[in-house]
Symmetry: C2
Subunit: 293 residues, 2 copies
């Protein structure tokens, strides 16, 4: 099945068909619940992300914008990206960058124009980088997503290894803030209703094919929890102060685990790291949020 | 605001405009999660209600059909039913009957034709009974819902008190089965995305107007949990064996509480009672499920 030699240049620059993502207030609320908001149901601050009549005004969590290119996942689950064929259960999300260009509407129609911008040969697998700018109906760019996907077993095709991503050095002091967030046992089943229906997150048999003991949480779900932690501690839960976020998915999370996010503010950046309390594994590394001044 | 004298006969027989309820597999899955399924994410039996690729075949929980007349709630939340005006925060769900006429499709468009069938003066409040048959696109009746709603403070208008509902006598033996189901703190926030957006279930201030210390769980959410308990213990999780269900909403439930459902089989009927473990309050009484042979 694995085509170990192929012309990378025929894949780089591959443009997906543009597609639209239509959403309603209900989708915005569902996303918030799917990434654990509100932590406390009596907390008005986070209630504003799920309750459309909130006295603070109903708002989308900034990380909601990673859903805009969701339809790309359907393409990926076919096991084919341009010339590349692979087993979708062997794919893991490597890194994610999200830039918020304008306040996210709480309902709307976005058009995404993703393209494969880079392909690297990491030896043990192939890294595929996709850039997806997302536009509203007036053509204004609302958000930009960059996803790096790692396909295990598909390396060794003789491609460029690519640069090592610069590793963020965390400050040598105790974190400025620490968030402890409990995920629910059914967190992945809820998150998948936001659009990523990869069976890896629901089906024990499919998880086994991916060499996991049980279905794992979506990396982007963990990402949403961490985004909430920074939004609360450094933005007073005001999405307009949240400019961008990037993370590396260092390790999987099992639904039901507790996420511990340690955060350090350095000027307009908040560096962070997320660990599972139960296994002590770093699950998000090389991670930061850029704040607006 | 309260119109304590009015002509009941002008309200009985009031027909709502027929309306449609369109749903997708995603709505079916969301409903299952909103009523706590699967209790164990590795349990294939309940995974079939949330996972569209389930090896057992994807199915709707039978109690999903209470959502078909959801749009009626929007009418009710206007605080006006025919000639009756009231504060929607004073309304509580009294009883619910659901009959499944045919296997519920996992996606579809239903047309509901609700009408007010009875109005009773209970002294402390008014009881409004609504019958809602629900039809699929071929015109076949798929489900029938009967809701009794109690509007506190609106009694004393000189109407008929109505019959006392027959009280189910529970067998004088230990229950044949007992289910213990933990609701989540955010259970009501999730359930409301199924359609009933009454602020009573989300907003602490609105709950206070209704004289509750905090937002309460939807009666129909508790109903869904109890339906699952009977489905599991007496139908082997096979919806085709579930014929009808009726309950009285005896007391409210707070999200986060544990529901204990005691069940007794008597021929083709399962009588049950649901209690909160934390407060020892009976929350569903006069309750039963009819099974198919």
């Amino acid at each position: 099945m694995v085509e170990n030699k192929f012309d990378v240049n025929r894949v780089i620059g591959h443009e997906f068909e543009p597609f639209t993502f239509s959403y309603t207030e209900r989708d915005v609320s569902l996303y918030a619940l799917a990434v654990g908001a509100p932590a406390d149901v009596l907390d008005q601050d986070e209630l504003q992300f799920v309750y459309e009549l909130s006295s603070l005004g109903f708002k989308a969590l900034p990380t909601f914008a990673v859903l805009y290119p969701t339809r790309m996942i359907d393409t990926i689950l076919t096991g084919r990206l341009g010339d590349i064929e692979f087993n979708p259960m062997m794919l893991v999300h490597g890194e994610q960058v999200l830039e918020i260009k304008q306040t996210l509407p709480t309902a709307g129609v976005m058009t995404c124009r993703p393209r494969i911008s880079r392909i690297y040969d990491k030896g043990s697998g192939m890294l595929v980088v996709t850039d997806a700018p997302c536009y509203d109906e007036t053509g204004a760019e609302i958000a930009f997503n960059q996803s790096s996907m790692f396909i295990r077993g598909l390396g060794g095709f003789g491609g460029d290894r690519g640069p090592s991503s610069p590793v963020e050095t965390l400050p040598d002091r105790p974190p400025d803030a620490v968030a402890r967030q409990q995920t629910a046992d059914n967190q992945a089943l809820l998150y998948r209703l936001c659009g990523d229906r990869n069976p890896l997150h629901a089906d024990p048999q499919m998880a086994a094919i991916g060499n996991f003991d049980r279905p794992i949480l979506h990396g982007l779900c963990t990402f949403g929890f961490a985004g909430r932690a920074v939004l609360k501690h450094f933005c007073n839960n005001d999405p307009s102060r949240f400019r961008s976020i990037k993370v590396r998915f260092a390790k999987h999370v099992f639904p039901g685990e507790t996420l511990v996010t340690e955060m350090w503010q350095e000027g307009s950046r908040v560096l962070f790291r997320t660990t599972t309390a139960e296994r002590g594994e770093v699950v998000l590394s090389n991670a930061s949020v850029e704040l607006h001044h």
